[in-house]
């Protein structure tokens, strides 16, 4: 693998007699989304502040592109650090400045750009983060989600190569949490920066993260992909992951991927009979249009609502579901055949289209530009599996046979 962009070697940090980080080793690679997970107060933010230089380690070395930062010249270090942005947990917006002034500040203070050029760049970021109406407002006049977007816009205004996110979803409801994570994922792809995020939003962060670092008992106990974390055998899994996953189930009605695997094993693979089961793979397509016309909050509300409707219809007959991608939900119906599944699916789609999604669709129509039509479609693939079949192959089969089962069509606006 390439040289890590950032590397920690045996980093120890103490505050007085209390050791917060104890010989931490980690690697962060360029162009990836790396998420540091762990319980509150475990030192995640402290770790992040070492990367940007707000805190200095008591022991150990931090390397940037393989070079220890303590060996760097001041100008070299300043140059390297100027490519890193930090989004604070509390947003740290200046209360006496408007959103526009907050976003413009790094350019006004650190560059010799002309006023017009600064205005152009700031307005571009304001538009991208859907803050046009809030541009002249003060942070205290904004909602929590808008403040997060303002903080993100400020962090991105200098076109950084690395953005550090310190618990970006703190204090947000489940829909907004996912909206903010989707926003980060979208921007990361759009601007191609390296994202390092501190979060305990499990499993939501798995969908946007390339790598997960688990901080437990003052040190990093796991580095790897979200999939690898599922097979990680460590007390961290019992104490941290399961407690956070339990909370997710209560909020969305969907299981985590790990819980899904366990249920699959206990309900299907340990069966003594050879009775089959059904799998549904559902996708809400045209997510980009939903993001563009309705924003991240509404998009997540749609997916969240879809999860709740799935649980309502399929959970009643013993089905269990998980979210595999941001817009994909997989449901296993352990006791149903294809015919029964099809009947319930019809009821589900009718109910879902009449329910919350129709309001969201109406909003989208109102906000869409003239002469432009926005359709939402739901695709579903069904497959029948046997207890000893590999679940991944059954899911793959279902996905490859997806058909559109519902579409909210629109008329072109005049």
């Amino acid at each position: 693998m390439n040289t890590p962009l950032i590397e920690f070697k045996n980093i120890t940090k103490r505050f007085g007699e209390q050791t917060v980080l104890d010989r931490v080793n980690l690697k962060i690679y360029e162009g990836e989304v790396t998420t540091i997970i762990g319980l509150s107060g475990s030192g995640k933010s402290v770790l992040l502040k070492h990367i940007i230089g707000l805190l200095k380690p008591d022991e150990g070395t931090i390397l940037l592109r393989g070079k220890p930062i303590h060996d760097m010249k001041k100008t070299e270090l300043t140059e390297a650090m100027s490519k890193i942005s930090y989004m604070f947990q509390s947003n740290a917006l200046f209360g006496s400045m408007t959103v526009y002034e907050n976003i413009a500040l790094p350019l006004q203070e650190n560059t010799s750009l002309k006023k017009n050029e600064i205005h152009k760049r700031v307005m571009a970021r304001i538009e991208q983060t859907e803050l046009i109406e809030a541009a002249r407002k003060y942070p205290s006049e904004l909602s929590g989600g808008m403040q997060k977007r303002a903080a993100l816009a400020r962090a991105l205004i200098t076109d950084p190569h690395v953005v550090l996110f310190d618990e970006p979803t703190t204090g947000q409801d489940p829909v907004r949490k996912n909206a903010i994570l989707s926003m980060i994922a979208q921007y990361q792809k759009k601007f191609n920066f390296t994202a390092v995020m501190v979060s305990h939003e499990i499993p939501d962060v798995y969908f946007i993260s390339n790598r997960i670092l688990a901080l437990y008992d003052k040190t990093i106990v796991f580095e790897g992909t979200p999939e690898e974390l599922g097979n990680f055998n460590h007390p961290f899994n019992d104490e941290v992951i399961r407690s956070l996953e339990g909370l997710q189930k209560e909020l969305t009605g969907l299981y985590s991927r790990r819980q899904f695997k366990v249920l699959h094993h206990t309900q299907l693979q340990s069966r003594k009979t050879d009775n089959g089961y059904c799998i549904l793979v559902m996708n809400l397509s045209d997510m980009d249009k939903i993001y563009s016309y309705l924003g991240y909050d509404k998009a997540q509300e749609t997916i969240h609502s879809m999860g709740i409707y799935i649980d309502k219809h399929f959970g009643a007959i013993g089905g269990f579901s998980t979210r595999r991608k941001s817009n994909e939900i997989v449901t296993v119906l352990p006791f149903s055949n294809m015919e029964e599944t099809q009947n319930i699916l019809n009821e589900f789609i009718e109910d879902f289209q009449k329910g919350e999604i129709s309001d969201i669709w109406v909003d989208a129509q109102n906000q869409a530009p003239a002469h432009q039509c926005i359709d939402f479609s739901i695709k579903v693939g069904m497959a029948e599996g046997k207890p000893f079949d590999e679940i991944e192959s059954v899911i793959h089969f279902a996905k490859s046979h997806q058909k559109e089962i519902g579409r909210l069509r629109c008329a072109v606006k005049e």
């Binding site: 707000l54 942005s85 509390s90 740290a92 917006l93 200046f94 209360g95 500040l105 203070e109 650190n110």
Partner: protein, 281 residues
Amino acid sequence: MSFNEGRQKNFQSPNSFYLFVTRPFAFTGRTVITWINSIGAATIFLILALLKTFHPKQFQKVIQQIYYIGARSTTIIMLVSLFTGMVLGLQSYHALVQFGAQGSLGTLVSLSLIRELGPVLTAIMITARAGSAITAEIGVQRISEQIDALETMRIDPFRYLVTPRITAAIISFPLLTTVFDLIGIIGGYISSVALMGLNAGVYAHSIQSYVDMEDLTNGFVKSVVFAVIVATVCCYQGYFVHMREDSKGAKAVGLATTSAVVISCVLILVSDYVVTSLLMV
């Protein structure tokens, strides 16, 4: 066990007795060391801030701070100085008239104001109005991570927050002291001439005869010294509010603001004596 019995028992142990004797010295030593450390830290703080005075992007910020510290304090300074001058004129008139020396009233009022009361009261009033606001503002920015945010944006918090305030104070204090002196002298005129019937020409002549440029210069020197003290103490208290050991968060900001005002006022009076002594040599 009564208090005295307990104390006697404690004295039986040589270790306790040793502690009883040495504790006051240890306390005094610690306090003195803390004070020396703080003075050293504040001096370095001031030097670092002054080094960044001539940064190209400072001008607008300094003008803004002159408006907050200086222009917006003008009304209160005028009000205080008017009544200070009036009461000074009134009291002095009654005292001087007993010796038939009321002709020196203008000299007494103007020299008192220009040499002492003007710089000192102006500094104290600005401390109360703007100094406390400086500490609270910087303190809130510190506890809400806004200063950390500046660092992550590669904006030097010293240059951005501290330098403009110290520079603006150095410019504003002498100007406001001038306003204080002038309005105070007018106040003295109102009470002694308009109310007590002293001859206006005598009042004006006594000022003209005995106030010279050195008095004005000394007053301005004092006001600059007070500006440096007040701005440094207030910025320092706010900037390091997170390092207070007695409290954290909003309470720490409140305590820092109180400390800033109290320390500034004490230092104004102490330094007034020191500067006066030096100027008289």
